[in-house]
């Protein structure tokens, strides 16, 4: 092993075998997805649960918090991906590697995304059927809306977790 050339920053060079790299864009996107959904859903519940405990159900103001939560999760996902991309590019440049080739999406990323979708799509029919049953039972719209939102978030987080596991621990067809 040669000595001094492993100090950072390094000159641009073609990566040697097994040279460490940074997390790929798709894996970063999965982390962003987890954080965006977990934090905004948590915030929604933090706002709404006290109201449920204190007010009669049909007076609970849940629509505004929900719209905020949905809007923020979209913004957080977009901004998170942008920053993750910039962070990755900077990190790679310091290591002397080319962001375009190291961070690109390839067929493995598509295969992992497909695998995650096949493992977590069950959340969607659960949401639709559950909401339908709640509507039939004539419960307050707060319960229906919150159910749709929270279970959908769980599904999105599950999807991201499956993807990250596939990247880290390995994934076979």
């Amino acid at each position: 092993m040669n000595g001094s050339e492993h100090k950072l920053p390094r000159e641009p060079h073609r990566p040697a075998d097994d040279e460490p790299t940074v997390m790929g864009m798709d894996e970063r996107a999965a982390w962003v997805q987890i954080f965006a959904f977990a934090i905004t859903t948590g915030a929604y519940l933090a706002v709404v649960i006290p109201r449920v405990l204190n007010d009669p159900i049909d007076e609970v103001e849940w629509v505004v918090p929900l719209l905020w939560a949905m809007g923020l999760s979209i913004v957080a996902t977009i901004l998170g991906s942008i920053f993750a991309g910039i962070g990755g590019a900077i990190h790679l440049t310091i290591r002397g590697l080319d962001p375009d080739s190291e961070l690109a999406s390839d067929s493995r990323d598509k295969a992992i995304a497909r695998h995650a979708r096949l493992r977590t799509y069950w959340a969607t029919p659960v949401v639709a059927l559950g909401a339908l049953i709640l509507a039939m039972l004539d419960v307050d719209t707060f319960w229906i809306g919150s159910f749709i939102y929270v279970v959908t978030s769980i599904g999105a987080i599950a999807d991201a977790v499956v993807r990250i596991r596939a990247y880290r621990r390995g994934f076979v067809g």
Binding site: R14, P15, A16, D17, D18, T21, G24, S101, E102, L103, A104, D106, S107, R108, A111, R165, A166, R169, G170, F171, V172, G173
Partner: protein, 76 residues
């Protein structure tokens, strides 16, 4: 939850050396994938598609089972 174990192993690393030190980056470029994917395949952390398996064999100009080996083990 560990991933489903695979009985497929590969000799890609050895073949790369035999081929005059083809690096992971070179192989990745020829296959149109990232270096990470080549690393994952070599470490047995990713099972390539059938198409890609054939493409890898083609890069080394050898038959498929010179690259990949389907091991013995318990029947599923």
């Amino acid at each position: 939850m560990t991933p489903k174990p695979t009985r497929v192993t590969n000799r890609i690393r050895a073949l790369r050396t035999e081929r005059g030190d083809l690096t992971q980056a070179d192989l990745a470029e020829q296959l149109g994938v990232t270096r990470q994917t080549v690393i994952a395949i070599e470490q047995g952390k990713y099972s390539p598609s059938l198409e890609m398996a054939f493409q890898i064999a083609r890069v080394f100009d050898v038959p498929l089972d010179d690259v990949f080996h389907y091991g013995e083990g318990d029947a599923n």
